[in-house]
Amino acid sequence: MRLINSVILCYFLVAVSAAHAALRDHVVTVQRGCPNASTLLIKKSAVELSSAQSCQQNYTEKLLQACSDMDCPKLVESFKNNLQDRTGSVVGE
């Protein structure tokens, strides 16, 4: 059982370290404004925002309902910053 736990732990360590830094930043930013939202919900919302930067989507609406200090423009802005980091469009960021 201990071995299984180790394997599972190892899996998540690899998964987290391999996740793109920018998406991690997005998750951290959103968690600050939505302390009750699960990481999975934030990532599901990020997937939705990647196709349309609108908050009228299933998981994004659920995420915003769980947020005390995060509104739609803030969420979209955080996501845009995430995209920006991926293309190096500002030198040094």
Partner: protein, 425 residues
């Protein structure tokens, strides 16, 4: 009987106990195998592909009147063009990233344009020269970043063009480094960036970016020989350019969601321009300039979608044997971004008699951002569609006076309408 039943129970239990560790090991082995596959997949998944595709239509509608003869000339027509940019970004490790953009800009069904003749200007233009269907690298640079992300170093062909506030026209995040109304060109060179976030309170941001982007001149055939001017004089191989961009940002104020103040100072010397050589002066004539661009931006004013920015450009330039020229210009941008990401806005420009901007990489077919002695407006509206599609409609219009100093012997009125379809993926 009870004894037999007890023995049977012990046998079944021991058999189960013997089988249990074996299946557990098998499951662990399977999990390890899956984990290895996952690790291998991840190790190859370092390449991120994205891109932008734009189709652009502009109507040309300009009237000029010669300041001496009074002769009127009207110019009308339409131009359609496209621009494709494919980004291939490689995350080498957590500290090193390599960014590239392979791009093509062309006028529809025309592969005959070459863009600027001078090599340095062709480099600054990149794919924005509309030089046909051959792709060019507009970006190719490597970035090293420290663990704390306080220091960054960049080397190569960098994302210096198309800076703020141009991103706001399509409701995008900032996608260029130098302010648009400062320097709009693609530069090769070195950069060092210091982010002071570690020592600043939350909601404050201070960054300083230093660029060294020298321009080199070489003979077009013999790489070991210097380039020559029309009189056969050797041109200096290197023209130095240093740019210092300081950025201050304050977020979440009661007045605006974000306040940005950027100050960019740059200097270049020994710059050779083939078109501006004195016919009477002996030897090569070089240019030097000390310029400053200020960008002050307010985003989401009073919690609404209102954005406002003011850009100011001051250029002090001098050629060998020439007089010192001062130029001053202003660009104001006021726009409203709706929750649906639709945008309406207006830009107002004022330029003086000796106005000059190094503006090389742009899509439009008019000189709205470049014309000296002018005042004009750019009115625009952008509609956002799902999957990051934006349709922008607008008009560039300006009035420019006769300006013999800058080589314009006619006053001009321009009113160019345009439509731009853009998708980011």
């Amino acid at each position: 009987m009870k004894r037999y039943l007890l023995l049977l129970a012990i046998f079944v239990a021991s058999a189960g106990a013997a089988e249990s560790p074996q299946s557990l090991e098998e499951r662990i082995a399977k999990l390890e195998e899956k984990l290895e596959e996952f690790e291998i997949d991840k190790s190859y998944d370092r390449l991120h592909v994205s891109g932008t595709y734009i189709n652009y239509l502009e109507t040309i509608n300009a009237t000029s009147k010669n300041g001496t003869t009074g002769e009127k000339v009207a110019e009308n027509g339409e131009i359609m063009s496209m621009h494709v940019a494919l980004n291939f970004d490689v995350n080498i490790n957590k500290n090193i990233d390599f960014f590239t953009t392979l791009a093509m800009g062309k006028v529809w069904n025309n592969d005959g344009r070459e863009g600027e003749e001078q090599g340095s200007y062709r480099s600054y233009q990149g794919s924005y020269a509309y030089a046909g269907s051959t792709a060019r690298f507009d970006v190719a640079y490597i970035r090293w970043r420290t663990d704390e992300e306080c220091w960054s170093f960049a080397l190569g062909r960098m994302t210096t063009r198309g800076g703020p506030p141009m991103n706001q026209l399509d409701a995008l995040s900032r996608n260029g480094t130098y302010p648009r109304f400062g320097y709009n060109a693609i530069f090769d060179g070195l950069a060092v960036v210091r982010d002071f976030k570690a020592i600043l309170p939350k909601d404050y941001s201070v960054k300083t970016r230093l660029f060294y982007t020298p321009t080199f001149q070489l003979d077009s055939r013999d790489r070991s020989a210097p380039a020559q001017d029309v009189d056969g004089n050797a041109i200096d191989r290197r023209s130095n350019q240093l740019t210092w961009l300081n950025e201050f940002e304050r977020s979440n104020t009661s007045f605006a969601k974000k306040i940005s103040l950027y100050s960019m100072l740059w200097y270049y010397d020994k710059f050779y321009d083939a078109e501006y050589q004195s016919s009477t002066r002996e030897g090569v004539e070089y240019y030097r300039a000390l310029s400053h661009s200020l960008y002050l931006g307010f985003e989401r004013i009073a919690g609404s979608g209102t954005n406002f920015s003011w850009s100011n450009l001051r250029v002090n330039s001098k050629s060998d044997g020439g007089t010192l020229n001062h130029s001053d210009a202003h660009l104001f941008n006021l726009n409203y971004t709706f929750a649906s990401e639709h945008v309406v806005g207006v830009e107002q420009i004022f330029t003086d008699r000796s106005f000059y901007i190094d503006d090389w990489s742009y899509l439009q077919f008019n000189d709205f951002y470049q014309r000296p002695s002018s005042s004009g407006q750019h009115v625009f509206g952008a509609i956002s569609f799902p999957h990051r599609q934006v349709l922008r409609l607008g008009v560039y219009q300006y009035r420019a006076k006769v300006n013999t100093f800058a080589g314009y012997d006619s006053k001009q009125t321009t009113q160019n309408f345009y439509a731009s379809y853009r998708i980011d993926f």
